[in-house]
């Protein structure tokens, strides 16, 4: 029997979830959640859900305690009444850590951004079996006995054999009448997806820009993970040449070469050719750079995209992460991309600061592809 407190607890969690949802934009831009991510759970710090009351501001209000020490000595260890490490003007906020599953987080994200469900392509290419209780059998455990069916069988038998008395309709099932629920193995479509992140790591991309990329990628991961059973992630970095790296290197590598975006796209194309057959895979391409590229290279890029990448990818998203520099000159990659007329598959967004992530995600993921 569940304890009555579970209801209060569930209600409390519901309130907390509501709070997280309302503050999602904030969580999106401050990156606190990265690093708090476990395997399936994210631990989210929520300011204490509190009932306001007339109370004293803690600061300035002293107290009495017991122990050694001379006047002027700091109180060691815990500060009175509040959590350590935050001795500002406000009394320490009691921070509540709430564990939220990634699925749930994706759900909140979807509700808040109003994201459509993704319709995977290659819907039934890969199949797996899923057991569902939709079948009826003659044998089984009592706990799965189908009362209605059993009754019906017994009734049928009694009517047929003429022992059914409408005056006194007593139905007694015998062993042969018993029916039990049973499962059926059904092939369930399972779509796989690969996300290929590409990023410019040339000298012009600083830590700030990389942080923006990382934040954005976190939410992209969260959302796509919720939509596919299996997600593969690949990371490509480039300056004038491109190479495939692991996740850690992707966010930390720094190089000081020039920039050739086409090199990343070229490598991406090879990767897809060798590992990810577009027949079987939903392919998501995300590219981030600060928009600087050689004019001649831009031409190569557009060609690669329109000829080879866009036809096989579900989505190609380009995020231009830079704060203010040359954000809108003619040669910027984002403006070059506009020349490709592929509104269904190609999305571009500017991410000049963390607050823009919310809108960028809405653009990127709002296509429902």
């Amino acid at each position: 029997m569940p304890l009555p407190i579970e209801q209060d607890n569930a209600r409390f969690k519901q309130i907390v979830r509501g709070k997280i949802r309302r503050n999602l934009r904030k969580y999106m831009s401050n990156g606190e959640l990265i690093g708090r991510q476990g395997k399936d759970l994210v631990s989210i710090p929520v300011p204490q859900v509190d009932l306001p009351r007339f109370t004293f501001g803690n600061v300035g209000r002293g107290g009495v305690a017991q122990g050694p020490g001379q006047p002027g000595d700091p109180l060691s260890q815990a500060d009175p009444g509040d959590s350590a490490g935050q001795a500002g003007d406000q009394p320490g906020q009691h921070i509540l850590e709430v564990d939220v599953s990634l699925d749930e987080l994706a759900q909140m994200l979807a509700e808040e951004l109003e994201l459509p469900r993704i319709e995977p392509k290659g819907l039934d290419n890969i199949e797996s079996e899923k057991a569902r209780y939709t079948d009826i059998r003659r044998v089984g455990p009592d706990s799965l006995r189908h009362f209605k069916r059993t009754y019906r069988e017994a009734l049928k038998r009694q009517v047929i054999s003429g022992i059914y008395n409408p005056e006194r309709p007593v139905i007694i099932p015998v062993r042969e009448d018993m029916r039990y629920r049973s499962f059926q193995r059904k092939p369930a479509p399972e779509a796989n997806a690969v996300i290929i992140y590409m990023m410019d790591v040339s000298g012009s991309m600083g830590d700030y820009e990389k942080r923006l990329v990382r934040l954005t990628a976190f939410w992209i991961d969260t959302w796509l993970k919720a939509n596919y059973r299996k997600i593969e992630r690949r990371y490509i970095v480039h300056d004038a040449r491109a190479g495939e790296v692991d996740e850690h290197a992707f966010y930390h590598l720094r190089q000081s070469g020039g920039t050739m975006i086409s090199s990343a796209l070229q490598l991406c194309r090879q990767l897809i050719q060798h590992n990810f057959d577009p027949q079987d895979w939903n392919i998501y391409l995300f590219q981030f750079s600060d928009g600087e590229n050689w004019d001649t290279d831009n031409v190569t890029c557009l060609e690669l995209l329109s000829e080879h990448l866009l036809p096989v990818a579900n989505l190609y998203c380009y995020g231009q992460v830079n704060e203010y520099r040359h954000s809108n000159y003619e040669g910027a990659f984002i403006n070059q991309l506009a020349r490709l007329d592929e509104p269904a598959k190609l999305v571009t967004a500017r991410i000049p600061n963390p607050d823009a992530i919310f809108d960028a995600l809405k653009l990127f993921l709002g296509k429902g592809r």
Binding site: D8, L51, R61, V64, Q66, A87
Partner: protein
């Protein structure tokens, strides 16, 4: 309660023994029923403040979450929990060692005795178990009828005002009513008020015009004050709202429920130090003198010292309470009190002082009967005791951004301690005027005592007051470096104004 397990036989034995020791030592308590619970059940009961059933509210769920997590992480463990009812219910955690159960029982009998005999508990409802269940039923019914969210939102508002009660309210007998008929006509009274009897020729000397004018003014002010509503500022804001705010019957009931429960728990907050000190005093006496078997000694010592541990920046009520009671017992045994003892200035002589009075036990029983924490500290915390216990006062240093030891001066310590106990360390808020500016607006006044209110909370709380009162509400308080301020909320927006700037 029905899921609880009856005590196993060997614990029943222990219980009978411990109860016997407690009675022999002079403790006086109602029947105590021990209930054995597993940790999730005990966390539920703890989240419900010791009761098996409370009205549905997320706050309990939040507390439960906290308890469950900190239990899972091994940060805390509930040893004893007992409620002030008759019969008294107490809970034992099934996974505890027998020696722990013994200790808990001894401790619980101390609490049970305190609940029954301490005067501040005299007005508490001993059938609170039933009452809480009734509250739960009533509120559930309102939720079914008026909607979960609506009722919950209203409870939230009431809980936010929960501390605006007058703890002395249950023991005050109010005057029946104000006299209806006035003897004198107001004008006549005015003209003659304060006039002293004098023969005609002396009149202008004995009753000079300035004096009469002042007297008239005073009388007028008095009449003005009588017209005010409430006549005297009211401390029980929740009661005032219950009686005069335009509430639906179900809302009134909820205000009453919240207030009743707050008043029920108030004496426990008023006597935290004494209550825990008293219970610890008796568990220690019972265990070490009677109940403990040699093989249990280490576990007992470990857990006993755990309860009495002190940490910097936090005063442990168990520790302070038991030490102070022991000090009182010792002093009254030695006769170390009274003018003669106070007058003695020799430290050595005071330490040796022994009149062999043996009044200690008697005295501490008296103390447990008539004092609450404030009186207890005020009366019995002595300079010698403060030194022996290494008490100090601390304060937040704005420049160093940390809490620091402020003083070891006895007067400072005592003042600080008493201040923090006054009104449970909560601000005193009064209903000053319920017809402010003759517009039915509610004017609350915070009695400022050197410590400012937390403003963001105050404004949020003001919104809740407004939601109940339904007319604009105001709060007068003092803000350091600014002066006397008036904060207002009219249901739409907040405003504030400076009434009296602080003198520089």
């Amino acid at each position: 309660m029905n899921q609880s397990v009856a005590l196993p036989a060997h614990l029943q034995d222990i219980q009978q023994k411990v109860e016997g020791y407690a009675r022999d030592l002079g403790l006086d308590f109602p029947e105590v029923r021990f209930i054995m619970l597993d940790f999730s059940q005990i966390n539920q009961v703890a989240a419900y403040d010791g009761f098996p059933r409370r009205y549905p509210h997320w706050r309990f769920g939040m507390e439960y979450e906290r308890l469950r997590k900190s239990y899972a992480w091994g940060l805390h463990r509930i040893y004893e929990m007992v409620i002030n009812t008759d019969p008294c219910y107490a809970y034992l955690l099934a996974s505890n060692l027998d020696v722990d159960q013994k200790l808990v029982m001894a401790h619980v009998y101390g609490h049970a005795d305190f609940f029954k005999n301490n005067l501040w508990f005299a007005h508490t409802n001993r059938q609170m178990l039933d009452e809480m269940a009734n509250h739960a039923t009533r509120i559930s019914r309102y939720m079914d009828k008026y909607g979960y969210e609506e009722v919950e939102a209203f409870i939230d508002r009431c809980l936010s005002l929960e501390n605006l009660i007058d703890i002395h309210q249950p023991s005050i007998r109010r005057l029946a009513a104000r006299p209806q008929e006035r003897q004198e006509d107001a004008h006549v009274a005015d003209a003659n008020s304060g006039r002293l009897r004098a023969s005609g020729y002396m009149d202008s000397f004995i009753n000079p015009p300035e004096y009469l004018a002042e007297m008239r003014q005073r009388a007028a002010a008095e009449r003005q004050r009588e017209k005010q509503f409430p006549v005297e500022p009211q401390k029980d804001v929740l009661l005032f709202l219950l009686e005069y705010a335009p509430l639906e019957p179900w809302q009134q009931d909820i205000v009453a429920i919240v207030r009743e429960e707050a008043l029920y728990f108030a004496p426990q907050r008023q006597t935290k130090i004494m209550n825990e000190g008293w219970a610890s005093f008796w568990h220690s006496t019972i265990m070490t003198r009677h109940a403990l078997s040699p093989d249990e000694l280490i576990d007992y010592a470990d857990h006993h010292s755990g309860t009495l541990a002190t940490s910097p920046g936090r005063l442990n009520p168990y520790k302070l309470g038991i030490e102070l009671l022991r000090d009182v017992e010792d002093r009254w045994n030695r006769g170390a009190f009274g003018p003669e003892y106070e007058a003695c200035t020799s430290q050595a002589e005071r330490a040796r002082w022994d009149r062999k009075l043996g009044l200690g036990r008697e005295k501490i029983f008296e103390v447990r009967r008539i004092y609450n924490d404030i009186g207890f500290i005020d009366e019995f915390l002595t300079r010698d005791f403060a030194e022996a216990q290494q008490l100090f006062s601390y304060r937040y240093n704005r420049r160093a951004r940390r809490y620091e030891v402020e003083s070891r001066d006895f007067d400072d310590i005592k003042r600080q301690l008493l201040t923090s106990l006054t009104n449970f360390g909560e601000p005193a808020i009064l209903v000053q005027d319920a017809n402010f500016q003759n517009r039915g607006e509610l004017y609350l006044r915070h009695v400022w005592e050197e410590v400012d209110l937390r403003l963001d909370y105050a404004q949020d709380t003001l919104e809740n007051v407004q939601a109940l009162w339904q007319r604009p509400v105001h709060l007068e308080t003092h803000i350091t470096d600014r002066g006397l301020m008036q904060f207002s909320y009219d249901g739409k927006e907040h405003s504030q104004k400076l009434l009296v700037p602080q003198k520089v």
